[in-house]
Amino acid sequence: MGALQSIPGHPEYSDLSDKTGFSFEQISVLHKRFKQLSHNEDTLHRDDLSAIPDLSCNPIRAQIIEAFFDQRNFSPSEEGTVEEIRFEEFLVVMSHFRPPRHSMSEEQRESVRKDKLRFLFNMHDTDNDGTITLQEYRHVVEELLSRSGALGKETAKSIADAAMLEVASISVGHMEPDEFYEGITFEHFLKLLSGFDIEHKMSIRFLNVDTTLCK
């Protein structure tokens, strides 16, 4: 994958490659896909993404699509959402899913890990206040369970509640009866998933080969 040969006609790829860590081949494959999704426009809209047939049965489709228009995922300092994204943003969002490199130092791994967890965190934290509140959590759990039909909102709610309690007990420790755990901060989120091998699991092997035609 590391073989970087310049592809003639796309000098802008080298910038993108520096920024996102994708190889030229991967970028060109993704670019094709981008063009396909956006119907050869330069920008991509929410509607373009919701029209993807494969995505239609994904229970958290809305969150995934939203993640592409969330400025926090483009660069950490920004906030808010946008209406349309260019290829560059598309690629940046995708880059959160790059598999970790073969050999990494401990700090690199930690930063990759943080990056991926931040992405997940942002998917929860819809109002961007730095915490996942119970409502937000419940919403996500509801969505996750929405496909299993028989289970009503009650179940989702109680599961979210129990999960929240778990967070409270893991991150805060002992609480007074009248205390209230107002939400999961990112630090707690990290602590919560500390044993979870996310840097390896949350990765996609981006192919060098164009598969858009196979679909």
């Binding site: 896909r33 396909q36 993807i52 494969d54 995505l55 049965c57 994904n58 229970p59 958290i60 995934i64 995708m94 899913f97 598999p99 970790p100 050999s103 997940l120 998917m123 119970l134 996500v140 759990v141 996750l144 369970l145 496909r147 299993s148 028989a150 289970l151 009650e154 109680s158 599961i159 509640d161 129990a162 999960a163 309690l165 778990e166 967070v167 409270a168 007990s169 893991i170 805060v172 420790g173 002992h174 609480m175 007074e176 009866p177 009248d178 205390e179 209230f180 107002e182 919560l192 998933l193 044993g195 979870f196 091998d197 390896h200 699991k201 990765s203 996609i204 092997r205 981006f206 598969t211």
Partner: protein, 818 residues
């Protein structure tokens, strides 16, 4: 009579001597057998009963003995018992099995027994024939690995697993076979008579890896999932490949000339055999799953179907001479998921136990027998050949892993690094299957003795040397590890979230991987397969499954404390601990109400979804769900014994339930179990998995379990009262579960604003976490006094209304109550 008595006496002597030896350190084992040999002359008749035919008398015998009639089953039983006693022996002193793999110990015991037998000139029983091995010993071993295969990681890595199992085995067989053939050409070794076919056959035998010992080590140090599953899957499918190759080569070894066309036919046959086996397995798996759909009325024979169908798959595959191992493995993989949903909880446990038991007996026997055979049979020592076998086995394994990983790595999302490769290569222990294959070689192989000797040599070498050294080595090179003990709802939720996200992103960028296929399969599964194969085909998310499991554990501990609280008094020490470790694992009281709802609706079909990593020698940790029954009986018994309790205390103690909001009920109740003595008989097994689970789940719980003793004293009475109510309730409503549940939840709603309040509305008073629990209690007591009517704790509910505790509303339990 004479024979019989001396046999059993000898057997007992055996066992005594074994049991007295094993608890000592393994270093002491070798010197002792010398002593025991001298003790054991009476052993002589054990295997030579044919030499003592009973004298037949013409008149009516008053007392007769017909030993030959029972000889074979009798001896087999004794062997199995002996091997099992040996296993008990190992675990008397637990540390041995940590450092020395069980297979080593078994072989050692076998060696000792063999030495004893040899010294008294006994022959080992001639039970291990080719047919016995392939029809009776191998299926349980394979069923065991197949049934307990961690399905999910397996399918995530299926490509790599098959790659290593199929190509790796071929690589090893051909590589080792060719190199040995080259060695055979050297005249100095005097083995020119071994031709290429025989060399290949032998190489095939010794390329069957059997890393049970390694898997145990991997599990203990929790190496990363990918490495674990590849080793696990490799050992399984590699058996299949080996047996296929073995059959092919035994056939080929007979042929005087091998034509090129035979090679092609061989390759074609290889695929026919493998894929045919898989097809049969899938077929029987589905039939089996479909059958269990209708077994709800005949729970007793439910487990039988599983065994019969898998064995049938095996036998039918044997009939057509296709890979029976593939058949049984795919059969168990296919049916497992559906069967475990269909059968009752008890049957499920039974199935798991029996599968484990049969598998481990089989393997124990083979290892044991290996030890015996090593000593008692004639060996043909050809050091050159044996040493080169060792060398080549080692080198080709290493090379194979190195080369094959280079090829497979570009296709993996998470490539194997050098450390993983070392683990893979070094984990290639040879074991039971190799030995059995060598031992059952047909007699027309000229150098059969040499092959057996070389196989035993390589097994002993790898099992002892590599098996013992792999743990320190793995720990030393620090292979990437995965934390597998993440049984929290949050992790499950986020894992799901992440998987869906990844699948979504893959859809988005028009690529796919196993997430894509998994998605597609799940859809197909939910729409069609589950509807056909499962009686109650409501899809259930794994989040919900885990949630239920955790809640059930919680509920069980609450039930348990009903039984446990009376005898033990809270100690000062626990109070002290309490202050030190303010880190409980908590569910607030308010949420317990929801848990109740869920439990009352779902108690029937709680299943553990994914069997976590399991070793061949231990059952998966799924016992919580089953044990609830046992515990409950214990609790009822308990509650009846102490008689009456002052109900006046109840209102007081209720407050404690609601009190320290961050504390879990579980953390508070658990210490009791550790101290209770009364119902050990019923609880001894039950208590184990829980403590196990707790220590795994997080340190906080552990510490909190001892810290939360103070409130317990108050709680006793309440809980006793609860359990009495449970009894009443049980008598009253047997069967009308649904109705009462509904009415309960409605009536309960009115009572539960208090606990809910604690959770949802944001409050400002954030005092930090108090170290002083006692203060907390007092405060809260005062706080609760003004409004005593709505006891804000679900645990107190059963007191108020006998029908209230939905946990206990399980009609199935009633018949047992007597």
């Amino acid at each position: 009579m004479d024979i019989r008595f001396s046999t059993s006496a000898a057997f007992l002597l055996f066992v005594c001597c074994l049991l007295s030896q094993t608890p000592g350190s393994n270093g002491e084992v070798p010197p002792k057998p010398a002593g025991s040999v001298t003790i054991l002359p009476p052993i002589k008749p054990i295997d030579g009963p044919q030499a003592y035919p009973e004298a037949e008398k013409a008149s009516l015998p008053v007392f007769t003995m017909d030993y030959p009639r029972i000889q074979i089953p009798f001896e087999v039983t004794l062997w199995v018992l002996l091997a099992s006693f040996a296993k008990i022996g190992f675990h008397v002193y637990h540390k041995i099995t940590v450092w020395v793999p069980e297979s080593c110990l078994l072989i050692s015991i076998g060696l000792i027994v063999g030495a004893i037998m040899h010294s008294v000139h006994e022959e080992p029983p001639a039970v291990l024939t080719s047919n016995v091995f392939f029809l009776y010993m191998l299926p349980p071993i394979v069923l065991d690995s197949g049934y307990f295969m961690p399905t999910r990681p397996f399918f995530e890595n299926i490509g790599t697993v098959l790659w290593f199992a199929v190509v790796g085995t071929l690589w090893n067989s051909i590589g080792i076979g060719m190199s040995l053939f080259a060695i055979c050409q050297i005249e100095a070794f005097g083995v020119q008579d071994i031709n290429l076919q025989e060399n290949l056959l032998f190489a095939t035998i010794i390329s069957a890896v059997d890393p049970v010992a390694v898997l145990n080590v991997f599990e203990d140090v929790s190496v990363n999932e990918q490495l674990y599953i590849v080793v696990f899957g490799e050992c399984l499918f590699n058996d299949a490949v080996t047996v296929v190759l073995y059959n092919m080569f035994t056939f080929v070894a007979d042929m005087p000339v091998v034509e090129p066309v035979d090679v092609f036919l061989g390759v074609a046959r290889f695929f026919v055999v493998g894929i045919g086996g898989m097809a049969f397995g899938i077929l029987f798996g589905f039939v089996s799953a479909f059958t269990t759909r209708f077994t709800s009325k005949v729970r007793e024979i439910e487990p039988l179907f599983i065994f019969m169908y898998s064995y049938l798959a095996y036998l039918v595959a044997e009939l057509f001479a296709i890979s029976s191992i593939m058949a049984i493995v795919t059969c168990s993989l296919t049916m497992k998921y559906y069967v475990e949903e269909n059968v009752s909880q008890r049957s499920c446990t039974t199935i798991r136990h029996v599968v484990k038991m049969l598998g481990s007996i089989s393997e124990t026997l083979i290892f044991f027998f290996l030890g015996v055979v090593t000593i008692t049979t004639e060996h043909e020592f050809n050091w050159g050949y044996i040493l080169f076998t060792l060398l080549f086995a080692f080198v080709w394994r290493g090379l194979g892993v190195l080369v094959l990983t280079q090829i497979i790595n570009p296709f993996r999302t998470i490539p194997f690094n050098l450390k993983d490769q070392f683990g893979l290569a070094y984990g290639g222990l040879r074991g039971a299957v190799s030995f059995a294959l060598a031992f059952t070689l047909p007699d027309n192989i000229g150098r059969k003795q040499l092959f057996i000797t070389a196989t035993i040599a390589i097994i002993l070498f790898t099992v002892f040397l590599q098996g013992i050294s792999i743990r320190p080595l793995i720990e030393f090179i620090n292979v990437r590890r995965t934390n597998r003990n993440l049984e929290t709802i949050n992790v499950e939720v986020h894992c799901r979230l992440m998987e869906h996200t990844v699948a979504g992103i893959e859809d988005l960028c028009g690529q796919w991987s196993h997430f894509y296929w998994k998605d597609k399969f799940l859809k197909f599964n939910t729409r069609i397969l589950r509807k056909i194969l499962i009686r109650d085909s409501r899809a259930e998310s794994s989040i919900v499954a885990l949630y239920k499991k955790l809640e059930l554990q919680n509920a069980m501990e609450i039930l348990d404390t009903v039984a446990g609280d009376i005898s033990a008094a809270p100690s000062i020490v626990s109070l002290y601990d309490e202050k030190k470790n303010p880190k409980p694992k908590a569910y607030l009281a308010g949420d317990l109400r929801n848990m109740h709802d869920i439990l009352s609706k779902n108690m029937y079909n709680i299943r553990q979804r994914t069997v976590a990593f399991t070793s061949k020698y231990s059952l998966p940790n799924d016992r919580h769900t089953k044990e609830i029954l046992i515990r409950r009986h214990a609790s009822i018994r308990r509650s009846l014994r102490p008689g009456s309790f002052q109900n006046s205390n109840v209102s007081k103690s209720q407050k404690y339930y609601s009190l320290p909001a961050g504390q879990s009920l579980e953390s508070r109740f658990s210490p009791r179990r550790l101290t209770q003595t009364d119902d050990r008989e019923t609880m001894s097994e039950a208590a184990y998995p829980i403590t196990n689970w707790r220590s795994r789940s997080s340190q906080p719980t552990r510490s909190s379990s001892s810290r939360a003793m103070m409130p317990l004293k108050r709680l006793d009475t309440l809980k006793e009262a609860v359990s009495v109510d449970m009894l009443n309730e049980n008598k009253e409503d047997s069967g009308s579960r649904a109705g009462t549940t509904r009415s309960n939840s409605s009536s309960r709603d009115s009572r539960l604003p208090a606990p809910r309040r604690q959770l949802s509305p944001p409050r400002e008073e954030d005092n930090g976490f108090s170290d002083n629990l006692i203060n907390v209690h007092h405060e809260a007591e005062e706080e609760d006094h003004p409004s005593p009517s709505p006891p804000p704790a679900w645990a107190a509910e059963p007191r108020d209304n006998a029908n209230r505790n939905p946990l206990l509303r399980r009609p199935q339990w009633n018949p047992k109550k007597t």
